[in-house]
């Protein structure tokens, strides 16, 4: 495997040059220019992912001119594996056609410069790594220019760079590959000058993804596709009720299957389970399904959606922990009842169900372990594995694998998948690799859902038709209570992820009171793409729409009037949406348009959805989106993210778009019972308009998600006269 290929054991690596850049703010950025054999030997082997991980490297110029750029993030669809290399290559003036991107393994140097851990979350990859990757590119370029200037004995100022070549006076030139060895001996410049936006050659251009072809010809290896020599496959029987434990089990029928090698009980993050380890997936799954397990349910709670909703509704009638108290908390009650709206909303648990089922491959050698996984949280997953196996984190080599979606499901504070895989590996003979696979049933029934919520809002309308008072109670489990994120994200007993999109609303409401209850139950919950905005934006944008209707005002004009003066990005998107009037014209009879807007993790979005009713379901014909994400690094990816993100947001409107529990058991098992949007459910067309901007760029993975559901139900109101406050949407 790869072990014999890593630096240090291969004499070829002795020639490499390795340079350190000290970057005060982030404590340890490293640029390295590697000089090694042409066409690395491991590329000819059939190793699962043919790449070597040079420690602490971001840029590697190969003798053949290929430039390998390490991406410090998981790629799972969002396009960061193309965008970060674009940023670096632009400042470096690298030839884009020669750029290759690789996903970096777990390593301190690859931590998010702001969060301090290696992660993908809050759509922060571009926000936090834009300057980091520009500086890496500029430093690398400066060293190459320095090498050329020294060779030609001219001032650096007489050199210019373009497309991986340094050009000097009198037609002299040298390629980056030719200069790399000399450049590696040049001290890394402390001070560098970044390009002015006008000089960008890649940033801001529609650039196709680097990973398209291998994703279209079947050659790209996702984590689930890895085949490590001698590998076994593990499928685990999980408790039928969260937290339950195995009392006893009979594995005779499982062991009788050809190919089943081991059956044993393992500890889980919640309760215990039984692992079946086989030569292949099919016998492992058949074996798991044939286990006779008696579960100890005595100590386990039996959460039940109906009962939880009833309890949540009661809680919503009481004030929770205060998130925001602006103006007079009781102002709403001073407004005559005829000018009050009281609205209760209910939202179910949602499962992320990324297309690639959850999996981790691991080999435990006793004094070290090697792991291959798609993780949004490499740092904490590495720590968790080390803890289970009694190792130091440095003894855990953690490879980041290309991943088939995640939407938050692979950002797991308790690292339960990695712990489960490590617990299996620990029981196997040393050196036997094993791939843990969660079946789709394990995934749908396995918890870590977007929490269910109840919201209760009382709005008092002023004589001008604008909301004078807004009293809002949010009820839902905390995502971070009991995790390492609690101290950072819970303030005054309020989990900020539960109120984001409401606490920081861009609307100017003089008397605004927002509080939250975080009931505790045994259902594991997790952030779901756009997190608190999934429910808060729905509530606010449907209520604001109702207010606009009451005031007999155009929904965009009403929102513009209600915006805080400082809400510049949202204003710019509503204005652009208004200008792109195509969506207003020729709306066919029986169709209606609904509006919604949001600012989510810095990026503002305004959305118009043209909808009709077909077979008692919303049919979404056309969505027009205007967005402001600051500088648009890759407008092609942004367009795709917005087209896909609004489609993803339809999840919560699906008639089978709810996870429900009855007496402790999850009622859905697979895509037959929990059904995300298929082609006919998603918008048939999505037009994306980007507000031109040179502002600091912000992310585009999550911001498209929250607007579509409220925009669709706002359109439905115009067709049916009904307001929809309970999701999922049942027959219209």
């Amino acid at each position: 495997m790869r072990r014999n290929l890593v630096a240090g054991t291969d004499p070829g690596w002795n020639r490499r040059a390795f340079l350190k850049v000290s970057a005060a703010a982030t404590g340890g950025l490293l640029v390295s220019l590697y000089l090694d054999r042409p066409a690395l030997a491991q590329e000819a082997t059939s190793a699962p992912t043919p790449k070597v991980y040079p420690p602490d490297a971001f840029v590697h110029i190969r003798p053949d001119g290929t430039i390998v750029i390490q991406v410090n993030r998981l790629e799972f669809g969002q396009g960061i594996h193309t965008a970060l290399p674009m940023i670096l290559a632009d400042e470096m003036d690298a030839a884009w056609s020669r750029v290759v991107a690789e996903l970096a393994p777990a390593g301190a140097v690859y931590a998010d410069p702001v969060f301090g851990i290696q992660m993908v979350g809050q759509s922060s990859s571009i926000t936090d790594s834009f300057t980091q990757y520009r500086e890496l590119g500029a430093r690398t370029r400066a060293m190459l220019v320095g090498a050329a200037a020294a060779r030609w004995k001219i001032p650096e100022g007489e050199c210019r760079t373009q497309s991986s070549v340094v050009h000097g006076p009198d037609g002299r030139s040298a390629t980056y590959a030719e200069l790399a060895e000399a450049a590696a001996r040049i001290p890394v410049p402390e001070k560098i000058r970044l390009k002015s936006p006008g000089a960008f050659r890649l940033i801001g251009t529609k650039t196709r993804r680097l990973d398209s072809r291998p994703k279209c010809d079947g050659s790209l290896k996702f984590g689930l596709d890895l085949d490590v020599p001698g590998m076994k496959v593990a499928v685990v029987a999980h408790p039928p009720v969260f937290g339950a434990r195995v009392k006893s089990f009979d594995d005779a029928a499982a062991r009788a299957l050809e190919g089943v090698r081991y059956v044993f009980e393992i500890p889980l993050a919640r309760g215990t389970g039984v692992a079946v380890v086989a030569d292949r997936f099919w016998p492992a799954k058949q074996g798991r399904d044939r286990l006779q397990i008696e579960w100890d349910l005595a100590g386990a709670e039996r959460p039940d959606s109906t009962r939880l909703f009833a309890a949540y509704r009661d809680l919503a009638r009481t004030t929770g922990n205060i998130a925001v108290a602006r103006g007079d908390a009781n102002a709403v009650h001073a407004i005559p009842e005829t000018r009050r709206i009281v609205a209760e909303y209910e939202f179910p648990f949602l499962a992320h169900t990324p297309m690639e089922p959850l999996n981790t491959t691991i080999r435990f050698d006793g004094d070290r372990t090697e792991v291959w996984a798609g993780s949004q949280f490499q740092t904490s997953d590495q720590l968790a594995i080390a803890e289970v196996l009694g190792l130091k984190p440095v003894q855990v080599v953690f490879h980041t694998e290309m991943t088939g979606g995640g939407f938050g499901r692979r950002a797991v504070p308790d690292s339960h998948i990695q712990r489960e895989a490590a617990a299996v590996a620990k029981r196997l003979p040393r050196g036997v690799p094993v791939k843990l696979i969660w079946t789709r049933e394990d995934d749908v029934q396995g918890g870590y859902y977007r929490p269910m919520h109840v919201h209760r809002v009382e709005v008092g309308v002023g004589s001008d038709g604008m909301p004078a008072a807004w009293r809002h109670v949010v009820v839902g489990q905390s995502l971070v209570a009991g995790t390492p994120f609690a101290s950072m994200l819970i303030k005054n007993g309020v989990d900020s992820t539960a109120v984001e999109g409401a606490a920081d609303t861009h609307y100017a409401i003089p008397n605004f009171h927002l509080s939250a209850h975080h009931p505790v139950n045994s259902v594991p919950v997790l952030w779901f793409r756009s997190v608190g905005h999934t429910h808060n934006t729905f509530v606010i944008e449907t209520l604001v729409d109702e207010l606009a209707t009451r005031a007999a005002m155009d929904p965009i004009a009403y929102r513009l009037k209600l915006l805080r003066p400082g809400a510049k990005r949202v204003r710019s998107t509503l204005t652009l949406l208004q200008e792109r009037a195509g969506w207003r014209r020729s709306v066919p009879r029986g169709h209606a348009v609904g509006i919604a807007c949001v600012q989510c993790f810095g990026t503002a979005v305004a959305c118009a959805a043209e909808v009709s009713v077909e077979e008692k379901r919303p049919r979404i014909h056309r969505v027009t989106v205007a967005l402001n994400c600051g500088l648009a690094v890759n407008p092609l990816t942004i367009e795709s993210q917005f087209q896909g993100g609004v489609g993803f947001g339809v999840t919560q409107l699906m008639s089978k778009g709810a996870i429900t529990l009855k007496d402790g058991r999850v009622e859905q098992r697979n895509f037959d019972g929990y059904s995300p949007p298929y082609m006919k459910d998603a918008p048939a067309a999505v037009d994306v308009h980007i507000v031109p901007s040179d502002d600091k760029p912000t992310g585009c993975g999550e911001p498209p998600v929250p607007v579509i559901a409220p925009a669709v139900v706002n359109a439905l109101f115009r067709l049916t006269g009904k307001r929809y406050r309970t999701l999922p949407l049942m027959a219209l």
């Binding site: 279209c216 290309m402 049933e441 795709s640 082609m679």
Partner: protein, 154 residues
């Protein structure tokens, strides 16, 4: 355990496995062709779609014992088919993929559609592609790429 002779992407192959093993897992684990994906195991998502005797088929629910002599074409082989190549190229040029995990199944289904109906209507596209789940919801670009490919199919 039984031994089966298969024709996969035009090549004869032999596997020895349990008769109940789905074609999906034979492709992935015995033949090491991992382009065909596991998504649900109940024919509800289409990630495992292959052409079986020319018909787009959910390989996760077809036991190996029922494959018989019907030729199997997977994502690894579809590029050698002229329509297959056009569809793959349209997918790449139109930047369809995001996570990409479902796209083998999307492409195999789209190729079958264009072979049956070279100039499909929107309704044809929805009907044929309707069972292929894409959690990234790349549907808009899939629709557009099928139109592009349709214009290039000879």
């Amino acid at each position: 355990m039984e031994t089966y002779e298969l024709i996969v992407n035009g090549r004869p192959m032999e596997v020895t496995t349990d008769p109940g093993t789905p074609l999906l897992w034979v492709l992935r684990e015995e033949l090491k062709m991992t382009g065909t994906k596991y998504g649900c195991g109940i024919a509800a998502c289409g990630a495992c779609t292959v052409h079986l005797g020319g018909i787009p088929t959910r390989s996760c629910v077809v036991p190996i014992s029922l494959v018989g002599g019907r030729p199997v074409v997977t994502i690894e082989g579809i590029g050698r088919d002229p329509v297959g190549r056009v569809v793959q190229d349209a997918w790449v040029s139109h930047d369809v993929v995001q996570c990409g995990y479902c796209q083998s199944g999307q492409i195999l289904t789209a190729v079958a559609l264009l072979k049956a109906i070279p100039k499909p209507t929107d309704a044809d596209v929805e009907q044929s592609m309707g069972g292929n789940l894409c959690r990234c919801a790349t549907y808009v670009r899939i629709r557009e790429a099928i139109k592009i490919a349709s214009g290039q199919v000879k």
